[in-house]
């Protein structure tokens, strides 16, 4: 049961990675691409981690998976803010329709 649930979570995570790539390629400017990328950082990796945690039966391992996810979220959030600020400071204007 948990095997199937884990596999479903992992597949969902992979799909969000795909959406991150699509956004990175199709969105018009840095700021919108950041938005797409943060989905891959948080949701996609989170789903993959959750799926693997369901497959694992070792508490330490599940803790490490959680730690990996939290670390990537924190780094991703900080990096997004850093890049967005730097891009604004360099005179890149947010895209408008």
């Amino acid at each position: 049961m948990s095997t199937i649930a884990g596999a479903i979570l992992i597949v969902l995570g992979l799909l969000f990675f795909l959406s991150g790539t699509l956004g990175l390629l199709r969105f018009p400017d840095v700021f919108t691409r950041l938005h797409a990328l943060s989905k891959a950082d948080t949701l996609a990796l989170g789903l993959v981690c959750a799926g693997l945690a369901l497959h694992a039966d070792d508490g330490t391992l599940q803790l490490k998976l959680l730690l990996i996810w939290l670390l990537v979220i924190v780094s991703g959030a900080t990096c997004s803010s850093l890049i967005a600020r730097a891009a604004l400071a360099h005179g890149i204007r947010p895209w408008q329709r």
């Binding site: 992992i10 795909l18 497959h55 391992l61 670390l71 991703g76 600020r85 891009a87």
Partner: protein, 95 residues
Amino acid sequence: MTVFYFAGALFLLANVVVALARVLRGPTAADRMLSGELMGTTAVAVLLLLYGATGIEAIIDVALVFAILAAMAVVTFVRRTWPEDPAVDNEREQT
């Protein structure tokens, strides 16, 4: 189950190879850096799936190191490369 994990890892790798187009196209340095960040996150996920496939526990440690150092490149880029580097700014017209 092993096959499932490998297929997932293969999918992720193909996905990130497609995203490499952003490194080629740019247009700004920040866009290229974003692509690098996606590569970092994908590498973590690929390592996790490889762990699922092989069961070598040290792979999780490698993924953990990746996760801890995920911010390193972007922080260096924002603090050291981009601010005063005309080389990086000029490229917008070049490519």
